[in-house]
């Protein structure tokens, strides 16, 4: 297995950054399809029988939503500081976003606990089933992005990021916003549409 060697010139500037964003958008498209498929399955399943029950919305749900929204805002501020080469402030804000992100994930665990204690199980009814599927799928994606956020944080505190090395932070932040919007969509679906 020794194919003829290939000589190649260095890649043009900006290519890596553009490619990262394109990959992000492609990934977002497939996530939209995944949740789109869950949504259509849910609509069909709800229409198929009379056993649908809406999921209750404990107070905690709104707390979680607020935490997630805050983390997005904070991450956005962080990324602006980095763009302006204000690395100290970037580090503060990015640490904050990372903490808030972890807070959301922990609070989600708590939320599921609460629901289980209240007798809402995965197999209770189609409404609860889709609620768990949707929120767990969301949380898994979010956790993945959070790990990346955390990794970027370890680079940030070692001052390895800067205005010319911010693609990771930008892509990560946009991904995070996207998952925030996805969360709002899920809330609309389960809490509003589901209880109608």
């Amino acid at each position: 297995m020794t194919p003829t060697p290939h000589v190649h010139p260095p890649s043009p500037p900006g290519q890596h950054r553009r490619a990262s964003f394109t990959a992000l958008y492609a990934g977002m498209a497939s996530i939209i399809m995944l949740f789109g498929a869950f949504t259509s399955a849910m609509v069909v399943r709800r229409g198929a029988s009379k056993d649908w029950r809406g999921t209750p919305a404990p107070q905690l749900l709104w707390v979680n939503t607020a935490v997630l929204a805050a983390s997005s805002v904070v991450a956005e501020r962080a990324r602006r500081h980095l763009r302006n080469n204000d690395r100290v402030h970037f580090n503060y804000w990015w640490s904050g976003a990372t903490l808030l992100g972890a807070g959301f994930i922990a609070a989600q665990g708590l939320l599921w606990r609460r629901l289980v204690d209240a007798g809402v199980y995965l197999n209770s009814n189609p409404g609860s089933a889709f609620f768990y599927i949707g929120t767990v799928a969301h949380a898994l994606h979010l956790f993945g992005v959070w790990l990346w956020m955390f990794y970027l944080w370890t680079k940030a505190v070692r001052l390895q990021l800067g205005p010319s090395r911010r693609t990771g932070v930008d892509v990560c932040t946009v991904f995070w916003h996207f998952l925030g919007v996805l969360w709002l969509y899920l809330m609309f679906l389960f809490i509003y549409w589901g209880n109608r």
């Binding site: 003829t4 290939h6 490619a19 990959a23 789109g36 498929a37 995965l122």
Partner: protein, 563 residues
């Protein structure tokens, strides 16, 4: 050791990964082929006592006679391995990985580590699938489409419906992930890594095909993933998405309530129809390139070829209902799905005419790669015509679940894509391994395979016309099928011959890899960049500049400037 691991196993180099995909899928292909031979033996000689079967499957073939359950298990594994691990994997993961970057003048894929991850997840998925053979109860019985309730009801529905079916679903879910990673990479690479001058409409049609295929898989596999998760939960967590109320299986009532098996069919075929294009589109790209090269003519109607592929990809997402004409749909939806399905005939016909147009008046060189490409066009037409028949609800009500369908999709999806793979292998082997494949062996391989596949699949169409159902383990049990025995025997013997000839191909691969004549730099006088041993600074013309009037030679490579 370290270098061995990083160079050959955990390599991030697209060429190595391409070869890894290729080797994995060729292996998978031979497993799938062996399974089909075993199936055909059983169909032709259902009562024969075969020692080997007994050794391989002591429970499934007591005394050497196969049980119907074992037959269905083999059928499921054959279909799954072929559809996912051969047709989805070689054309895109194998050839796409190796050639897409160098055809657009990039030094690698945009995300090399993700690329490595795609391959190893695919590999894992294959292992999980094979594991189904070895667990209690064996492989699942529910076919590559895994329709519930059978696939959702669990072990009481039959051997293989326990752990085997679970492994099947897990394997497919992992495969979805791998394909999604792969698609993201292909899309990004095509959009962002092209060398200067390589505008979209200068890309070789292979690149267009890989790009469009990646778009299709990005959307389709995400949906299959969702469906797989729901099915898994129905089996393992007591939900009821697909299981209806009051289901009685083997005298036991299932506790599930309120689900609908139709939901699975919608989700599955929303993925499933695009999947057939995932299998065949890369082949279309490869064949377009090879026909042009060995006719020494530009591709006839390059732009219509691109638009036709885009149209096929788009329409492919809105025709899934043609698999469900008899599933109890509203007849008006059947009508809509039928019209849309027949519409796909238009871009498919455009492609066919353009292939013929490319050949028209060319100086045709009948290399093995060219022969297989011509074979592709032939089987694509044969399979396409029966598609138009199946696309009409009134006819499909009769043909559905008969051997007519089996004949149809083997021709258009199975054989067509496989022919494209053979063509690509003969064409690109010199670039991949530095040596030429043996053309004489290649020709023997082609002619026998070509006649062989027609011999296998044309009789199936007639069996279908006579009402022969598919997914039956033994036709001799039915009065009305008695007369068809001879047809099935003929088909089986063609299958044995064709399968044997594939060993010739394998031998050719191994022999030529070690002993084949050394390849020149650009052995086919091709125009595309993979034949150049360096990444060019810019390209100056389209991908198919053959026989340009006024040029000194009959081809102009993409990086060469007009003189």
């Amino acid at each position: 050791m370290r270098t061995f691991l990083s160079r050959y196993l955990f390599s991030t180099d697209h060429k190595t990964i391409g070869i890894q995909y290729f080797v994995l899928s060729v292996l998978a292909g031979f497993v799938g082929l062996a399974l089909s031979v075993v199936m055909r033996i059983h169909l032709s000689y259902p009562e024969a006592k075969i020692r080997l079967f007994e050794i391989l499957w002591p429970n499934g073939a007591p005394g050497g006679v196969m049980t119907p359950e074992l037959y269905l298990a083999l059928l499921t594994m054959h279909g799954t391995i072929m559809a996912f691990f051969l047709l989805t994997t070689v054309p895109l993961g194998g050839f796409g990985n190796y050639f897409l970057p160098i055809q657009i003048g990039a030094h690698d894929m945009a995300l090399p580590r993700l690329n490595m991850l795609s391959f190893w997840t695919t590999f894992l998925s294959f292992l999980v699938l094979l594991a189904a053979f070895f667990v209690e109860g064996g492989a699942p019985l529910s076919g590559w489409t895994a329709y519930p309730p059978l696939s959702a009801a669990g072990p009481i529905a039959g051997p293989g419906q326990g752990t085997g079916q679970t492994l099947w679903i897990v394997s497919i879910a992992i495969f979805c992930l791998a394909s999604l990673f792969g698609s993201i990479n292909f899309i990004t690479t095509t959009l962002e890594m092209r060398v200067k001058g390589m505008s979209l409409f200068r890309m070789p049609l292979t690149v267009w095909a890989w790009f469009i295929t990646a778009l299709i898989s990005l959307f389709a596999f995400a949906v299959l993933m969702a469906a797989g998760i729901l099915l898994l939960l129905d089996r393992e967590a007591g939900t009821s998405f697909f299981l209806p109320t009051g289901l009685l299986i083997n005298d036991r009532a299932l506790p599930n309530q309120g689900g609908t098996p139709l939901l699975w069919q919608h989700l599955f075929w929303f993925f499933g129809h695009p999947e057939v294009y995932i299998a065949v589109l890369p082949g279309m790209g490869i064949v377009s390139t090879i026909l042009a090269n060995f006719a020494r003519k530009p591709v006839f109607g390059y732009k219509p070829m691109v638009w036709a592929m885009l149209a096929i990809a788009g329409l492919g997402f809105i025709v899934w209902g043609h698999h469900m004409f008899i599933s109890g749909m509203n007849p008006y939806s059947s009508l809509a799905f039928s019209v849309l399905t027949l519409t796909i005939g238009v871009p498919s016909a455009i492609k066919t005419f353009n292939w013929l147009g490319t050949l028209w008046g060319g100086r045709i060189q009948l290399t093995t790669a060219m022969l297989f490409s011509l074979g592709f066009v032939s089987v694509f037409v044969t399979g396409g015509l029966t598609g138009i028949i199946l696309g009409q609800p009134s006819l499909d009500i009769y043909f559905h679940d008969t051997y007519f369908v089996v004949g149809h999709f083997h021709m258009i999806m199975g054989v067509a894509s496989v022919f494209a793979m053979f063509a690509a292998t003969f064409y690109w082997f010199p670039r991949m391994f530095g040596r030429m494949l043996n053309e004489k062996l290649g020709r023997v391989h082609f002619y026998i395979t070509f006649l062989g596949v027609y011999g296998i699949f044309i009789p199936m169409h007639f069996a279908g016309l006579a009402g022969n159902p598919r997914r039956y383990a033994d036709f001799t049990q039915f009065e009305f099928l008695q007369d068809l025995t001879i047809l099935h025997k003929f088909s089986s013997h063609c299958a044995f011959t064709t399968a044997a000839v594939q060993l010739l191909f394998l031998a050719n691969l191994i022999y030529s890899y070690r002993r084949g004549p050394l390849a020149k730099d650009n052995p086919w006088n091709a125009t595309t960049l993979e034949w150049l041993n360096k990444t060019p600074d810019a390209v100056h013309c389209g991908a198919y500049e053959y026989s340009v009037p006024g040029d000194t030679k009959d081809f102009r490579m993409q990086h060469e400037e007009a003189r």
